[in-house]
Symmetry: C2
Subunit: 293 residues, 2 copies
């Protein structure tokens, strides 16, 4: 059976690692803070003292980390994954990071005889727990095929969208769509409220037609009642949106709508709410609008 | 069996009228242009020479017309529905028009002993054909209950969202969400293309996560291959969006994102493409962006 190393046991990583254990894989974990490691150890995972040690005992190493510098240091550092990865082994970075950094990491891995995929996810903590994530994979067709049995334990939609880096680009597009839809739903909620409409019934009927979306179905109710417990934090979403808008700007893609959305997310942070769920974008529209609306 | 009158046999009205015949209702139709009337007559509908004549022979009168002035003239004109509607009969306006005009029409109907509902729809021509429209209904709970057997032949989601006018307000919110999502999908398509991504696979994996939407599922493919045959015309969507943004402005609801979307739809019309499907918003983002993107 494939032995898997898992590095990064945060809100997303922890339930994903659990699903791999449940699927019968031998799992070795590493994480900066100890509590999550102890938890996974109790559930049957081996524990390694460094990313390099994880790599030494694994056929497949998965990383699930906050940002580009974290992935760079875990892969390239002196006690990093590539320092001790077995030739022919497969590194799958499931973090959401820059497509450019991703492509460099892919080349660096290749130069050491290690295979590399980027495989960022959508579906949030709920999708991570349920094993129903959407996984957008960049890499060679052969490497993606080899990864499928592992990824199938984590997600229900798995698509190869292009070479290394393509997964991150599609994730960037994902974050454009999600942030924008949250902004649109925020404006719609305010319009409904100001007209005295029952928002719950409205969400139900709106979701049945062309206005339907996963945001409307899974987030609008919590937003309308002011529940902004994360979930996915505003500041992380801002980081992801920057990746998307930087790429768009560099390639000459004009993004009038997403640029306004980006400003609204900035306003959420500026109001000291960057640690709330991204649904808190609604609070900016509320703050701008008439208090009787 | 309830006898139904149907006025307005356009792209939406025609398949809706057909579904009422298929459900076994006695149907009397009226339409300005003759071709659609002849078609329905061949399928078993009675034909009436005026809206008033339709009303005289019906328990329920449905109107499905382009804009507020059309509904006003069909209901209030000298040979209009209210001139000859039976006391206690039910008028259901399924057009998308102004909530304010809707409330006046409701009061006018009431003053003549006629019951009135606004019941605009979402789901497009495909939903109209399949009888799977989302129907957002404003009116008294009793009148809505009486209308359910009729509406059930037309839609799969039927929600009472408040008093007369509330249906149009929710439809306005619907049009905010749909136009905005088309704009977001346009920006995402350009970002994916500029990065050389296979958009079909990307749409599939994006739709599996929090970025998922009915627009992505049902319109993105056609948009990406430049197929803008309507569908729902840009100029009609602009009319609907004006209803929403006028209401928001009047009530002090600030709509930074939807206002940009409104400008982009204006740009589609300004380029002479107002008769294309609203998916043609993508052409504006294309036009603004680098030709190599």
């Amino acid at each position: 059976m494939t032995s898997i190393g898992f590095i990064g046991l945060g809100i997303m990583g922890r339930p994903m690692a659990r699903n791999l254990i449940a699927a019968g894989f031998d799992l070795t974990v590493h994480n900066r803070s100890r509590a999550a490691v102890d938890e996974l150890a109790r559930e049957g995972a081996e524990v390694a003292g460094s990313p390099a040690a994880v790599a030494g005992s694994s056929d497949v190493v998965i990383t699930m980390l906050p940002d580009s510098p974290d992935v760079e240091s875990v892969l390239l550092g002196p006690a990093g994954v590539l320092a001790q990865a077995n030739p022919g082994s497969l590194v799958i970075d499931m973090s959401t990071i820059s497509p450019d950094v991703t492509r460099s990491l892919g080349l660096e891995a290749q130069s050491r005889g290690v295979r590399f995929l980027d495989a960022p996810v959508s579906g949030g903590e709920a999708g991570a727990r349920a094993g129903t994530l959407s996984i957008m994979v960049g890499g060679s067709p052969e490497d993606v095929d080899d990864a499928r049995p592992v990824l199938s334990a984590l997600g229900s939609t798995i698509a190869r969208v292009g070479p290394v880096g393509a997964g991150q680009t599609v994730k960037a597009a994902n974050q454009v769509l999600v942030a924008g839809t949250i902004a649109l739903v925020s404006e719609a909620i305010m319009l409904l409220r100001a007209n005295g409409i029952d928002t719950s019934e409205a969400f139900r009927v709106l979701d049945g037609g062309l206005a339907g979306s996963a945001v409307l179905r899974t987030k609008a109710e919590a937003m309308a009642r002011g529940d902004y417990s994360p979930g996915f934090r505003v500041d992380l979403h801002r980081k992801d949106l920057r990746i998307a808008l930087d790429s768009a700007r560099r390639l000459g893609v004009v993004t009038p709508v997403s640029s306004v959305v980006d400003q609204l997310l900035l306003a959420v942070s500026a109001a000291g709410k960057g640690d709330l769920d991204h649904g808190a974008l609604l609070t900016v529209i509320e703050g701008l609008s008439s208090s009787t609306a």
